[in-house]
């Protein structure tokens, strides 16, 4: 069991009539890894998650999570995964410990063990102080903590968390990040979806980018950045604001058509997305100086997950548009 990947998804496809929600998705994830599962709205993330937790059946392909086939062995699967959907599922008029007691009983945890387990998971989620509070009176951040505690109750091997940081304030987001890292340290495998990419890039070992139901990029963050870094992002800050436009004109003249030049006169700044080499770039700067254009700062902007995501989705959109135009 320990040698096997915690999650094995092979050629997973889900169709709703003619609409392909998920197209040939293949992913492998090892124990203790955190996968950042990202994609624009309607990309197929929720469909993939629903298949992984047994709420939907794939049209073809297979998914094995914690040793269980997601479409055949659903009852065992439920004991081995913890699912936190993007809605909390609050019950009115119920205190937090009663809420957790209900889900513990639903997972058939014996009464004495359940009592201890509730205290444990509330400690892990940092929710111990809200034990007696009514669920409906909790803030969004508090509810997310309780939801994490609920997900951990039956000690699952794999956790699938849909937008755990959504709507949290910066402090709560940092705390949520710490909780997730602690869970990974405990040997849990996590799949986390989020639209807050800088946050995700801080905790994920592995990233999967999905658009239009298709996996566009998968691997460690460095791998993905290397693959998508076909263009470099430069920032040029001019000493004089009035020289911003002449500098931009010069760049447009000297650079190829594929390069993008964006001007921000307010900040005396020019942004450049291009694939030219350092030699060509230094020649351009030289020419600018010869023409009396004073460059105050010139540097390459390091690429992050957000840039990688935008780059991948842009390419995917172009490919999809081209395919539909052809059709």
């Amino acid at each position: 069991m320990s040698d096997q990947p915690a999650i094995q998804i092979r050629n997973l496809t889900k169709k709703y009539g003619e609409f392909v929600a998920l197209d040939d998705l293949s992913i492998e994830l090892n124990r203790g890894e955190i996968l950042g599962f990202i994609g624009p709205n309607g990309a197929g993330k929720t469909t993939a998650i629903k298949i992984l937790v047994g709420l939907a059946k794939p049209t073809s392909g297979s998914a094995i999570v914690a040793g269980c086939d997601c479409s055949k062995d659903v009852q065992t699967l439920k004991q081995r995964i913890g699912y936190m959907p993007d809605t909390f599922g609050a019950y009115d008029n119920m205190r937090v410990h009663e809420y957790l007691d209900f889900f513990g009983a639903a997972f058939k945890i014996p009464r004495e063990k359940r009592r201890k387990r509730i205290d444990e998971v509330m400690d892990i989620a940092g929710a111990a102080y809200m034990k007696d509070r009514y669920v409906e009176s909790l803030s969004h951040g508090m509810k997310q903590r309780v939801a994490i505690a609920r997900t951990l109750l039956h000690d699952p091997q794999v956790l699938i968390l849909d937008e755990p940081a959504n709507g949290l304030d910066p402090q709560a987001r940092i705390e949520m990040r710490q909780i997730l890292l602690r869970l990974a340290d405990m040997g849990k495998t996590l799949i986390v979806t989020s639209h807050i990419l800088p946050e995700l890039s801080r905790i994920c070992n592995v990233v999967a980018i999905i658009t239009h139901g298709k996996l566009r990029a998968f691997g460690t963050l460095d791998d993905i950045l290397r693959k998508v870094r076909q263009r470099r992002f430069m920032q040029i800050v001019m000493v004089r604001r009035e020289q911003v436009e002449p500098m931009a004109t010069l760049l447009r003249q000297l650079l190829s058509d594929e390069s993008e030049v964006t001007v921000s006169e307010q900040e005396s700044e020019i942004r450049l997305a291009t694939s030219i080499t350092d030699e060509v770039m230094s020649g351009i700067i030289g020419k600018a100086l010869q023409q009396g254009l004073l460059v105050g700062q010139f540097h390459e902007v390091p690429m992050d997950l957000e840039d990688a995501f935008l780059s991948v989705t842009r390419q995917a959109n172009t490919a999809v548009a081209a395919a539909s135009a052809k059709a």
């Binding site: 629903k50 937790v53 047994g54 709420l55 939907a56 059946k57 479409s71 659903v74 009852q75 439920k78 004991q79 995964i81 699912y83 959907p85 809605t87 909390f88 599922g89 609050a90 019950y91 009115d92 008029n93 119920m94 205190r95 410990h97 009663e98 007691d101 209900f102 889900f103 513990g104 009983a105 639903a106 997972f107 058939k108 014996p110 009464r111 359940r114 009592r115 809200m130 007696d132 509070r133 009514y134 009176s137 909790l138 609920r150």
Partner: protein, 620 residues
């Protein structure tokens, strides 16, 4: 007023829905059928106007039931929906005044009701042309219906401004509205036509002076000495006061008076003089009061509520613990940390009890206590009023139980599945190892147990009836306390009323099970609890109250056989025939057939519920 943006949004939005079209078609269709059935087709025309009067009777009562059931639906969800979606804060921060928001909401939701009433005008005109109907009668019917819509609409708006969720608003509104409409008809049995205003010191002392005479009365001799003159006298006084006040809130006496329905007036003994005026004045005043109260609530402060700190007794001082232990008998303390769910309990059932607003043990005990007191109080009061005639006492107890079932069941069962889907809880239940059967069983059990407790709590009144039925057999004589259990069995077996009480309870139990399964099945098909609640009340209202209209139209236009046939679906009619209540003595086949109808209905609803839950739990 029509520049008010809320009116155009609410009314036009409503009129665009398919639901609105369906209502309009249904109203026009049913009334057209009524006119077609009753339009004179014989060569000889009856000029006495009986046919037109019969049509107007069904027309007036039918529209009244429709308005009572429909008028509160839209306003009840109107404000609370805005609150839940967060748009109320936007409205309150706009330059619109609370009154213009309120009037927008009122006109927007009442506009549709008025449209439905307008659609009924051709049918009213047709009834008028048949002759024998006074034009003022028709106008009065419409005026009363408009006032009913206004009164219940404003009550619903006020409740909507107070409620925390849409389904809670609907439950409370239907509870209040049906209580206001039906309860006075039951309580009216106790108040003489010339009963003066019961409050004020002179009236109270005059009332008290009668109590010892009642206590010494032969028919109350079975009561332990001293009881009749203290606790029961207070209960009777409270009932008398509530009755005196409540008779002005039900539109039924007003409609009866306008339609000059001698059959109903004679059967109920109700006083019809001035009933229409009384209702009109009270409706207008109460509407204005509820509007004012709602306008007072529509301020930004209404969204500013503190979060419950959730303190539990377990962590409070010994003094507080001792106080609460005394007050709540510890076992029922609502603030005591609850026990873990036991190994043999269905977790869903426990969860349902805990999440229900009045589902906790202390509330169930309070509810039970109220039912016991109400049952005994009604028994005592009706015995006083009817000289101990069981045929007059039984219908009152039956109506009490029936009203409780009718009001409580949709409120408890219509959100069983839909509320889970609404809040996202259904997906969480699906990823637990619990089977669909266990989930549904737990949910249904939570409702059945509550209803059973309610029914049991209303039984003491029947025990008194059984006891009275055993008098003269020797069984009723009290022996030593050790002999009481044996005596109790003897009393039950020897009483002449035992069998009819058992029959009534079986019918009510069947009706309760049917109502639960129907509401639960509707809940499984709906995504919103508010819709499921409204539909459940409407369907049960049509089955239990709507079919009664056919009884009032016996011989004009419906034959005795048709009436008997229609009443077989009505569990209330079945119970009333079993106790041979006035107007229900000639339908011997209704009660036995109704049991089969209820069983078939239960089976259909259960199958629909199971199939739909299987669909919902199956992976997509």
């Amino acid at each position: 007023m029509f520049t008010n943006p809320i009116i155009s949004r609410e009314l036009i939005g409503m009129l665009r829905t398919k639901k609105a079209l369906a209502w309009q078609v249904a109203v026009v269709g049913i009334l057209s059928m009524l006119i077609v059935i009753r339009w004179p087709s014989e060569a000889m025309v009856n000029t006495s106007g009986q046919q037109a009067k019969a049509v107007l009777r069904i027309f007036g009562y039918g529209l009244m039931v429709m308005i009572v059931m429909l008028a509160p639906v839209f306003p009840a969800s109107s404000i609370v929906r805005e609150k839940q979606r967060g748009t109320l804060a936007l409205l309150l921060n706009s330059p619109m005044s609370p009154w213009s928001i309120l009037m927008g909401k009122l006109v927007g939701s009442m506009g549709f009701i008025m449209l439905l009433l307008l659609l009924t005008l051709p049918a009213a005109a047709a009834a008028f042309t048949m002759g024998g109907v006074d034009v003022m009668q028709v106008v009065s019917v419409y005026l009363i219906l408009t006032l009913v819509a206004l009164q219940y609409g404003t009550i619903a708006l006020y409740i909507s401004s107070k409620a925390g969720s849409m389904d809670a608003a609907l439950r409370i509104t239907f509870g209040v509205v049906l209580t206001l409409a039906i309860l006075p008809l039951i309580l009216n049995e106790f108040v003489p036509r010339d009963q003066p205003m019961p409050f004020g010191p002179i009236a109270f002392f005059e009332y008290l002076s009668h109590v010892p005479q009642w206590a010494d009365n032969q028919k109350f001799a079975w009561l332990p000495h001293g009881v009749a003159s203290s606790a029961f006298s207070v209960i009777l006084y409270v009932i008398l006061t509530i009755t005196w006040l409540s008779r002005f809130f039900s539109p039924a006496p007003a409609m009866t008076a306008i339609l000059r329905d001698d059959a109903v007036i004679g059967a109920s003994g109700a006083d019809s003089s001035g009933a229409a005026w009384r209702f009109a004045i009270v409706a207008a005043i109460s509407s204005a009061i509820f509007l004012w109260l709602t306008a007072r609530r529509l301020r930004p402060g209404m969204l500013d509520s503190a979060r419950d700190a959730g303190r539990v007794t377990d962590e409070q001082s010994t003094k507080v613990k001792a106080y609460r232990r005394f007050m709540f008998m510890w076992f029922f303390d609502p603030n005591r940390r609850s026990r873990m769910i036991g190994p043999f309990s269905n977790p869903v059932m426990v969860k349902e009890f805990r999440t229900r607003r009045f589902g906790r043990l202390h509330w169930l005990m309070r509810l039970g206590a109220v039912c016991v007191v109400l049952s005994l109080g009604l028994m005592f009061a009706s015995t006083e009023k009817t000289d101990g005639r069981i045929d007059a006492v039984m219908p009152i107890l039956v109506l009490l139980q029936f009203s409780l079932l009718l009001l409580a069941t949709p409120a408890l069962a219509a959100g069983l599945i839909s509320s889970e889907r609404e809040t996202g809880g259904w997906a969480l239940l699906q990823v637990t190892p619990m089977s669909a059967l266990k989930i549904v069983t737990g949910k249904l059990m939570s409702v059945f147990i509550t209803l059973l407790l309610l029914l049991i709590a209303t039984l003491p009144g029947y025990f008194v009836i059984i006891f009275m039925g055993s008098q003269g057999t020797g069984a009723a004589e009290l022996g030593t306390p050790l002999e009481w259990p044996g005596k109790l069995v003897e009393v039950i077996t020897s009483s002449v009323h035992t069998q009819s009480v058992i029959n009534v309870q079986i019918s009510l139990l069947l009706m309760g099970v049917f109502a639960v399964l129907l509401s639960a099945a509707i809940s499984a098909f709906m995504k919103r609890t508010s819709t499921a609640t409204a539909i459940s009340y409407a369907v049960l209202g049509v089955i239990c109250v709507g079919t009664m209209l056919v009884r009032f139209a016996e011989d004009a236009p419906f034959s005795h056989t048709t009436v008997e046939y229609v009443l077989t679906v009505n569990p209330l009619a079945a119970v009333l025939t079993q106790i041979r209540a006035p107007m229900f003595t000639d339908y011997p086949s209704v009660a036995p057939l109704n049991r089969y109808v209820m069983l078939v209905g239960c089976a259909i609803c259960l199958v629909a519920l199971i199939l739909q839950v299987r669909v919902l739990t199956r992976p997509q």
